[in-house]
Symmetry: C2
Subunit: 271 residues, 2 copies
């Protein structure tokens, strides 16, 4: 049993992980610049205490902070004896940044991304079963310490997750398309909504725009870190949207119907 | 008790209305070029029989066919004694087309739009409570016969709906933004999805793209009929999206965060 887990960023993901692996560590501590979040997590018994710095004796460190802050932590913790893993929605971009700065990626860092989240944020929304049956992507590198990879795999499994390995660059492209782009589109869509419109919405609007309620700090960080893959996905989307626009402006119903039918099919595959 | 209701287009909406008002009419008949849909509705007792033409003695006619076919029916039925109402997602555009062709809008037509639907289509997905507690927008005109307006209001209420009146042009603008544009964006988004991506999706993708599974025939018709309002909404969206893109490309996290925060707020209003 590892003695101590430090969770950096005790928001939805960090606090849910704490709840899910409560019995797997002797002690769980939280480091978060948001004093209210940290105090809440202590009060609810999610973690044993708040800390202001990473303690030298901690055994495991989960970086559950916004994506744009993760690389800094990995660099700072490169010589720490603990196993470091993260919950960032971006992988290759973080790895590249660390590599640029250190000339290598530290063996004590295991890159992970839990495919679980809510538009709610903060430890108030946390639950012990957030990861139950959900996928966690691991993108280990040649430099990743194999024993630490096994430990991190085991911790996520203990939290109820199904662990899957993936190439980090492919990870960033796939999630740019399936997660980051939809968030961006939902945000841009909502920007054009008139408050009066909200009296006239149905289930379509509600579901489509749900992710538009997500945390600004977190998503600005993801967009920034995964910029290249996101902009590539956005380019594709804009070309596709322009095709739809042309068919509508031309009054070409048959073409528009064919475009819709083809798009709809994309969704019917495995899932 | 009106003797006979004819439903033109016995899909999800038409068949659900038949089920919901079964006891309100002595007889319900269906006119649909899709023989399988008509036969299904008869077999399940949703309607009493199929017809190939509108009978002169029918008392009420619900046009639940695709939006781009509705104006033709209104024009054809201008001198029919029955009360004609529709379930089209577009109102002013249909009214304008009828007006252009007849020099007026017939008094026997009551424009209505039930805010209820599913990405599933066809009578197989119909249910008697589809309209229960849902809003039905009525956009009556000065030329609309007041008695017929009362009847149609009563029928939708009998189906469980809450009836609300609205200006038809405003209706088309509001629903272009809250319904038609999200469908268009979901379709264009799905066009760029790689089938392999579907192994890597979460709840965000599922909800965001749900409406992308909607019926191509129906939606091509809506986009075509509501072209002007939809293109206006699309113009706004493209400007907003371009602002997000600029902030991401510039690496301007603070600006991106502010844009997301403002967008998110749009969703928090009444609903």
């Amino acid at each position: 049993l590892p003695a101590e887990l430090t969770i950096v960023g005790i928001g939805l993901i960090g606090a849910s992980f704490a709840l899910a692996v409560r019995d797997g560590f002797e002690r769980i501590v939280a480091l978060d610049p948001d004093e209210a979040n940290g105090a809440f997590a202590v009060r609810r018994g999610m973690v044993d205490q708040r800390v202001d710095v990473i303690r030298p004796e901690t055994d495991a460190i989960l970086l559950a902070c916004p994506s744009h802050l993760i690389a800094d932590w990995i660099v700072d913790l490169a010589d720490h004896p603990a196993t470091v893993f993260d919950a960032g929605s971006v992988k290759q971009a973080i790895i590249s940044e660390v590599h640029d700065r250190l000339g290598q990626v530290p063996g004590n860092y295991v890159p992970t991304h839990p495919i679980a989240g809510l538009e709610q944020s903060g430890p108030q929304s946390a639950s012990a079963d957030l990861f139950e049956g959900r996928t966690v992507i691991l993108t280990p590198l040649a430099s990743t310490d194999p024993d630490r990879l096994l430990h991190v795999t085991g911790w996520w499994q203990a939290a109820g997750a199904v662990v899957e390995e993936m190439d980090p660059a492919r990870h960033d492209q796939v999630y740019a398309r399936t997660s980051h782009l939809p968030h961006l589109l939902a945000f841009a869509y909502l920007a054009g909504i008139d408050p009066e419109d909200l009296h006239h919405t149905g289930g379509g609007f509600r579901d489509f725009s749900r992710i538009g309620g997500s945390d600004p700090q977190m998503w600005a960080g993801i967009f920034d870190r995964n910029r290249a893959a996101l902009i590539a996905a956005l380019d594709t989307f804009e070309l596709d949207l322009a095709e739809f626009r042309r068919s509508i402006e031309a009054g070409d119903l048959a073409r528009c119907r064919a475009l819709i039918a083809a798009a709809r099919k994309r969704r019917e595959a495995p899932e």
